[in-house]
């Protein structure tokens, strides 16, 4: 029987309507010593108002440089079963679809070799197994990989790519997000498991500008589905929306950012040449409006959290690229970007930060992309810019 700790502070978090993580920890704590000590130590953190975990950097499975995050208690004398409490990242499926069969197998392996605690999912999109000891890592890896599952990324490597639900269950997907995600993951296995980048690199693929995977805010490479044709309008369905109480002039036409729509009470019109494809009208009138024509993606680079120079959103590099299997044009472009980053990037410098440090021109020239107005919100305001010898000759 695992040890039972008094947890008066955490018990408060079992009250109330929302599902409780404390209840989850108690369920696991009844079964494993590790989870029991994790619960006991968490109560101590709540009492002390500080974390009691230390980072540590030399754990993993043989041959890989990622997928396992070392974690140690700073009070192992009090909580010996979490003296080691490492995280294992399992590479999730595209769009997080699972079968009950797999989930049950995963639970069996994890109860046997770990704490029985998980995260579905971690922030990057890994299936996170929370807490195990160093001597269990190889067995865990063998159990999962023999069943067809691999570890995810960590450290200065390609991280586990993730995507929105896309064509699996959404009418707005302009690209096959699940397949792109799977294809990237398989193509760059070496880059994921054997960290050789200056720092982390994340891909997130979404089917449209609604961006249900926060791609534009959380990925070094944001792949956002879009289209080049017109929006087809079903006027009968437009009338249905109005009948059901939608104020089309105010809620649709009035909120269009490019003011390219009009409505006279009978006909909805769109000036497609001036549409920026923001998705507002389509998302609100999904039965009435549908993009047509050529489908593809906009490739944006550079978003990340605030360290070191402040948070960034990804910015446009390639306004439109066809995304069809085997995605060779896209993958070649990524390889060029990585080459340039490898050549110039400092330790812990993300690719977006490097572009800001060395300039878009050098980056675009290296990867072979022409400058176009779609890449900027506005041209520069200052008169200070470089000319090369080649420019002068033109």
């Amino acid at each position: 029987m695992p040890k039972k700790y008094d947890t008066p502070l955490l018990d408060e978090l079992e009250k109330g309507p929302f599902p409780s993580f404390v209840t989850e920890m108690k369920k696991a704590a009844a079964k494993t010593d590790m989870a029991a000590d994790a619960l006991g130590q968490l109560e101590r953190c709540f009492r002390d108002k500080k974390t009691h975990w230390k980072h540590g950097g030399i754990v993993g499975v043989r041959g890989y440089g990622g997928g396992v995050i070392g974690r140690y208690s700073d009070i192992p004398e009090d909580f010996p079963n979490v003296a080691h409490f490492h995280t294992v990242r399992i590479n999730s499926t595209s769009a997080f679809f699972y079968t009950s069969k797999f989930l049950k197998e995963m639970c069996d392996i994890w109860d046997k070799h770990g704490s029985g605690l998980t995260n579905l999912h971690g922030s990057t999109g890994d299936l996170v197994l929370l807490g195990t000891k160093t001597d269990q890592l190889e067995q865990i890896f063998a159990e999962f990989s023999s069943r067809g599952w691999d570890l995810g990324g960590s450290g200065s490597a390609m991280r586990t790519p993730s995507c929105c639900v896309g064509p699996a269950r959404c009418e707005w997907a302009n690209i096959d997000t699940l397949d792109i995600n799977y294809s990237i993951t398989q193509e760059f296995q070496d880059e994921m498991h054997r960290p050789a980048f200056p720092y982390k690199f994340k891909f997130k693929t979404v089917g449209c500008a609604v961006d249900c995977n926060a791609s534009i805010a959380r990925a070094d490479c944001s792949i956002i589905g879009t289209w080049k044709g017109n929006i087809a309008i079903d006027q009968a369905e437009v009338a249905n929306y109005e009948k059901k109480g939608m104020n089309i002039s105010e809620e649709i036409v009035g909120m269009c950012p490019s003011k390219c729509m009009s409505y006279d009470g009978k006909q909805l019109k769109i000036d497609d040449a001036n549409c920026v494809r923001c998705m507002h009208c389509i998302a609100k009138m999904t039965k009435a409006l549908k993009p047509t024509g050529e489908k593809g993606a906009t490739i944006l680079i550079g978003s990340k959290a605030p360290f070191v120079i402040g948070a960034t959103l990804s910015w446009v590099i390639v306004p439109f690229i066809k995304m069809e299997p085997p995605y060779d044009e896209f993958k070649d472009l990524i390889r060029k970007m990585w080459e340039w980053w490898d050549e110039h990037g400092k330790n812990r410098e993300r690719i977006g930060e490097l572009i800001i440090r060395r300039g878009m021109r050098e980056f675009l020239e290296y990867i072979g992309v022409e400058p176009v107005p779609q890449q900027v919100k506005e041209p520069r305001r200052d008169p200070f810019y470089f000319w090369t010898e080649a420019d002068l000759q033109k």
Binding site: L9, P17, F18, P19, S20, F21, V22, E24, M25, K27, A28, K31, A38, C45, K50, T51, W53, H55, R71, S94, F96, F97, Y98, T99, S100, F102, K104, C107, G116, L117, T118, L120, H121, S123, E138, F141, A142, S145, S146, G148, S162, V165, A168, R169, D179, Y182, A209, A214, S215, A217, R218, E251, M255, M279, A305, F307, V308, I309, A311, L313
Partner: protein, 356 residues
Amino acid sequence: MAAPQRRTDIGPPHYKDFLPPVIQKNYGSWKYHEIINPGVMVHVADSGDKIWTVRVASPRLLSTDTIRDMADIAEKYCGGYIRFTTRNNAEFLVSDEKNIEPLQKELKQKGYLAGGIGPRISNIVHTQGWVHCHSAATDASGLVKAIMDDLADYFTTKELPNKVRLAVACCTNMCGAVHCSDIALVGIHRKVPRVDHGNIKNMCEVPSTIAACPTGAISPDPAKKSLKINDDKCMYCGNCYSVCPALPISDPVNDGVAIVVGGKVGSLRSFPKFSKLTVPYIPNNPPRWPEVTSVIKKILDTYIAGAKKHERVGEWVERIGWEKFFSLTGLPFTFQHIDDFTIARETFRTAATFKW
């Protein structure tokens, strides 16, 4: 018993093996969807086939017992198919309409909370906090639980002008999507890291530690074979601690939570936006952080009262102006609100037009 044979570089299994048959059949051919109630939506394919999604909240941190229970439920009503969302909800994928009612009934009976679909509050994206992180300035799961208990009605029933996306990051590393959420919390430190001179040499690489500082506050201390920190320059971000464990920064008395508002990631109507600072610091007050939850409630109520239909929090604030936001919410405006980091001048008001 010997362990099975390990394999490397195989990647995840193919996603097609995990899609319900109705999805495989109608992949890429969905026509529209409708929200039936806050916990159920239906997607209709060009073929006329339908798939119903029943969404329930999870605390993200799940025990194997609960996952097994979810798997059992999925077997009973969904042919074993289940997925998770990026906001940590579980989605039961139902192909047979007659299974929806009994599924909802069993979920309710077992205490699962259905909801989160439509213009509501969905689950909170969050980080590990004191549960498992070495650099946490606050807990994440505890804050999430306290906030969602307070706002549960907006998950299960009540509508908002538009969806409101919440996030919690337990330090400025921001493993959660805090920098682009409608309302978000970030754990912060307020004091300079302590230099553990005895361990710098063994545990840290001096050049990379110096390079980790965004404000140039760290320099070598050759006499001590260590580092020194310029107190006047340090902004307590903790990036140095990520590279150098001998620079501990956590401080139970001075650590706490900042509240940022008005971010979004979608491009609908307006560009994606960063979240902006509204409350620079609230002390950690576990287990339920009542001061934090009351400010969030106040911001949400002010948004509900003032926003037009479809406006996200950030769009509402930009329409009324930040000066109006502070007067309507009654939140104090302080020196900490005025940027003095890397993009300060972009944020100064360069027009004499504003509201009183």
